[in-house]
Structure formats: structure tokens, C-alpha cells
Amino acid sequence: MNNAIKRQLKRSAKRSSLYIVLAGIAFIIIFPIFFLFSFSFMSDYETYSEWPKPLIPSFKANFMIDKNSEGYHLLIFNKSEDKYMPFGPLVFTNSQEDIDNLRKFIKLQSNSKITSQKIMEYLKIVDSKSRVEFSIKKDLLANYILFFQVVNGAPKAVLNSLMVAGATILISLTIGGMGGYAFARYFFKGKNILKLSVLFVRMFPAVSLAIPMVIILAKMGLYDQPLGLSLVYSVGQISMSIWITASVFMAIPVSLEEAAMIFGTTRAGAFLHVTLPLALPGLAASAMYSFIGSWNEVIAAVVLTQFNPTFPVVVYKALVGSQGQINLITAGSVAQALPAIIFTLIIRKYIIQMWGGVKV
């Protein structure tokens, strides 16, 4: 009896220490990602005028307008100082021009939108009561919108990236899928050598391929074109597709195809009507993997583009050249990261399945 309790205690102690370790790891994973997202929602004022910077972006900005003999003053609530601080022009009047400038300044610096009429109303209150405090809801997506407005060519770069990814998926899934089917269903001479070379091609540094491809693509008229870049990406992605589709086809029993053939279909018919529908989710996963690979790639894109960069190149150049403020750049990075994160989470089952099937 006593022993049983002891064992139980020991087990629960083990359990709880496991969960403590896991919580620690989860914290380490989430911690920096949280701040990447957090920064992307911060206004310029929060990013550059509050210290220490807020850990959680605020959802509204608090303002105060007061007045003395020189005119009106705008103040903003600074959380780190815990008091109202001067904000924008030192003094302003109730002229249309001043109020218009003020409205623009508020929008740019604190990501909050206010109309000129509203400012006028507040000024009237100040006239009668000497000061007014008010808060405006922050536009949380302002950095994301601004990133695409101010960073040169960002919207077009997204389009380029999508085109590159689309072409890469098409090429790598057709060619790689055929290869994967052959690997899964047939034994043929040189299969293992081919498997090794597929691995080797995949491992080959992208940059060592991209640089010589510059001249070759230029001769084909595809340099600085989405299609040209996707031809280079497909080299690595075909290998990946072979692995994934091979593991997908292997999981579908041959007996199903054979049964269909007994009922009078051809081998191609059996593949088309039996195997393909069953393999569809796996093929979609393979497509998503190709998408992630080409959507995230930087070095070959830097080498192979000039006026038509892909989205990661635009973010990379903004970051290296410090073209923009860090809150804008984090917004651009999150915009770039989101599709990759979402697709990875969708296909996580297949990623594990694939690595179970890959043996060097």
C-alpha cells in the first residue's frame, strides 16, 4: 500500500517536471515570435519615444490638448514616463492648415485616425474648459498598409513571389511526382544511385547554381523574370517532391491498383481513378512544401533578380539598407512569414511522414 503511494508520487513528480521543461521550451519558442508580432503593431511614437518600449502594443492612443497665451498644445500619454508629453508642433492655432497638419501628424506618428471636425470640437472644449483629454483607437494594421505604400515595389514583389511559387509548384510537382511514383512502385537498375543523386542535387548550394544560371537565363531571355527564378528553384524542389510523393504513393497499397486492373482498367486508368484521388492530400502537401521553399528563398533571388525582386528580397533590402523604421520592417516580415507559417502547420503531418521515409 505504502509502496503504491510512493510509486504514484514518483510518477506524478516525473510528470510535472516533464511539463515544467516543456513549458520552458514553449516559452523560448514563443518569446521572440511574440515580440516580432508585437513590434509590427506599434506606432512610431511607441517605437521611438517610449523607453523601455512597450511589450504589448497599445490599442489606443491617449491625447491631451491644453492652451496658454501662445496657442494650443498637443500632448500624448507616454506609458514609459507615465505622464503626458509634448507631441508634434509646439504651438498651433485653430486655422484649417494647422489642424490639417495636426491630423496628418497624429496619423503618421501614432497610427490613429481623427477627423479635422473632431479636432475642432475638442478645441472648442479647450476654449471653455482650458484642456481636454481624449483617446483614439489605434489602427493596428497601419504599419502593414504603410509598408506596402512606402517600400519600393513591395506589392509587385508579392505578385512576383506568387508567380515564382506557382511555376515552381507546377514544374516540381509534375516532374517530381512522376519520379516519386517510379520510386514507390518500381524496382529498376540504378535506383539507389539515382536516389543519392537526387539527395545530392537537393543539397547543392543554391547560390552555386544561381550564379552560372544568370548567363544561361539571360540567353533564354528569362533573367530577372519570375519563370527564370522558378526554373532554378525547381531543381531543389523536384528532389523534395520526389521524396514526399514517394512516401505518399508508398502508403497507398498496390493491391488497390491491381483490383482496378482486374475490373478492366488500364494501368494508367487505375492510377488516374484510384491512386491519384487517394494521393491528392499528399500531393497538395508536396505543393505547399514547394510553395514554402520558393516563398522563403533569398540568396538565389538576390542573384537572379534586378528590377523584379521577390518579396523576401524586398524585405531583406529594407532591413540591410535600414530604409525603413523597424516597426515597418517587422510588419513586412510578418506579412512575409504568415503564408509560410500557415502552410507549414497545415502540412505538418506530411512533414513528419516524409522524414520517416527518407533514409540516406
Binding site: 523607453w51 523601455p52 511589450l55 544561361i216 542573384v303 512575409q336
Partner: protein, 286 residues
């Protein structure tokens, strides 16, 4: 006949878009701007002290980051493989760093490690430091710079290594280890005599993939420190090819990229040879 027809497009594609450019690169790396055959590109590289710095920095980062990442990832994989409640949730979480694009990782850490970044803000908000004792994360010497890069790299890729190992562990099956336990093996003995030997192909895969991509580290270094602060191989390729803006340097970059390809391939073959996987595959083929 059918398998060869299915394989043919792969072989043709690789010949046109892999073999041809690779051969082209090797040939062009032995020619100068005027198209004259020469080894001057390589002489330039081998005379450049920065190349040797890049080589040793890369080697240092590869050796330490791969070792640390493997040990931690293996421990994690063993832990998660116990199938505790919430393990799939945990796996879900572990997949996120692996899917983050390199530029997002760069933005994340450069906004964090700046003197007025989120890490110092966090430490200040919770009273660990005050304004005067802000930590200058990015201003350290060479050793601390490399250490920081190794830590960031570990954060990014440990989940990836862990997932490969986990897939391998799940392939082994519980029964083999149970058999080991029945015959009186301790946990450590089971790990050493059963789990690790059975996991060897997976370990080889994980190590090869990691060594190869660790050699190609560059973006996070450039995003945090800019060019030439901590020279590594691939950063030198991009610097010469893309940044210096003269055809002379483009050729140097091309020759460097050939060297990187040789180093990467040699490392992979060396690892396969040492671990004994290479002979096995070739033998199976005969």
C-alpha cells in the same frame, strides 16, 4: 520500361538546369573578364586573408552549432516521443520557428538585440537591468558575435532537427524497446544499445542536412551585422557577386561559389563515408 519513362523528365531536367550550369560555373571560374583561361580568380581568393577568416569562422559555427543542436534536438525528440498529453500541441508550436523565413528571423532578432530593442525593453520592464546597464548585444567581440549567431541558429533549426529525429523514433516502434526492458535493460542501456543504433539512418540524414545548411549560413549574420563584420563563406560570395558591383568581383564570387559547392559536397561525402552509410547504399545497388 515504364519506370525509366517516369524518371526520364527528372534526369533531363537535372542535366539542363543542374549539370549544365554547374559545369559552366566550373569552366567560367577559370576564365578572367576578357575570357582568357587563367587561375587568377582562385589566386585572388587564396591570397585574400578574409577568405581564411571566412573559412575558419564558418568551420567554427558549423562544428559548434551542429553539435549543440543535435544534442538538444535529440533530447527533445526522446521527450516528445513519450507521447504525453498535449504532445501534438507541442509539436505544432515547435514547427513555427522552422517555417519562419530567414528575413523574418533576421527582423525578429535585429529588433530584439538592438540596444533599444525588445530584449533590453523586456529586461528593463521586469527590473533586471536599468537604463544605464543596457546590454550591448551586438557590440561584442568576435567570440561573443559567433556565440550569438550559434544561439540564434539553434533557436531556428532545433525544431527542424527534432522533427526528423522524431519521425525516425516513431518508426522504431515501442515493442523493440519494451523487449529490451523485459530482458532487464536499464533506460540508458536501451537508449545506447537499441534506440540509437536503430535510429542511425535518421541521425545520418539529420546530421547531413544540418552540416550542409550550417555551412551556408550568411543571411542572419548580414542582417544583424552587415557585410564584412563576421566574414563567412556565403556572405563573401554575395559580397563579391552582388555588392561590389564590378565584373572582376563577380568572377571572384563565381569562383568562391564553386569552392563553396566543393566544400559542401566534400563535407556531405565525408560524413557519409565516416558514418558508413555510403557503401551500404552503393552495395544495395549492385
Amino acid at each position: 520500361m515504364v519506370p525509366y519513362l517516369l524518371i526520364a523528365p527528372v534526369v533531363i531536367y537535372y542535366s539542363i538546369f543542374w549539370l549544365f550550369p554547374v559545369l559552366n560555373a566550373i569552366i567560367e571560374s577559370f576564365r578572367n573578364v576578357d575570357g582568357i583561361w587563367t587561375v587568377s580568380n582562385y589566386i585572388h581568393i587564396f591570397k585574400d586573408p578574409v577568405f581564411y577568416q571566412a573559412l575558419s569562422n564558418t568551420a567554427f559555427i558549423v562544428i559548434f552549432s551542429v553539435t549543440i543542436e543535435f544534442i538538444l534536438a535529440f533530447g527533445l525528440a526522446l521527450l516528445i516521443n513519450t507521447k504525453f498529453r498535449g504532445s501534438s500541441m507541442f509539436l505544432f508550436l515547435a514547427m513555427i520557428p522552422m517555417s519562419l523565413p530567414a528575413v523574418a528571423v533576421g527582423a525578429m532578432w535585429s529588433s530584439g538585440l538592438a540596444t533599444r530593442g525588445w530584449l533590453n525593453s523586456f529586461l528593463m520592464t521586469f527590473g533586471f537591468i536599468d537604463d544605464a546597464s543596457k546590454i550591448l548585444f551586438l557590440a561584442g567581440g568576435k567570440m561573443s558575435t559567433m556565440l550569438l549567431i550559434i544561439i540564434i541558429d539553434a533557436w531556428t533549426v532545433i525544431p527542424f532537427v527534432m522533427i526528423i529525429l522524431l519521425a525516425g523514433l516513431q518508426g522504431i516502434g515501442e515493442d523493440v524497446r519494451e523487449a529490451g526492458a523485459i530482458f532487464g535493460g536499464t533506460k540508458f542501456q536501451i537508449l545506447r544499445k537499441i534506440t540509437i543504433p536503430m535510429l542511425k539512418p535518421t541521425i545520418t540524414t539529420a546530421m547531413i542536412l544540418r552540416i550542409i545548411s550550417a555551412i551556408q549560413i550568411w543571411l542572419i549574420i548580414v542582417l544583424l551585422y552587415g557585410f564584412n563584420r563576421l566574414p563567412v563563406l556565403l556572405e563573401q560570395v554575395v559580397l563579391n557577386y552582388d555588392q561590389l558591383g564590378a565584373e572582376y568581383f563577380e568572377r571572384i564570387g563565381l569562383a568562391l561559389s564553386v569552392l563553396v559547392a566543393i566544400i559542401v559536397s566534400a563535407a556531405a561525402v565525408l560524413y557519409l563515408k565516416v558514418s558508413g552509410s555510403f557503401e551500404k547504399e552503393v552495395k544495395q545497388d549492385e
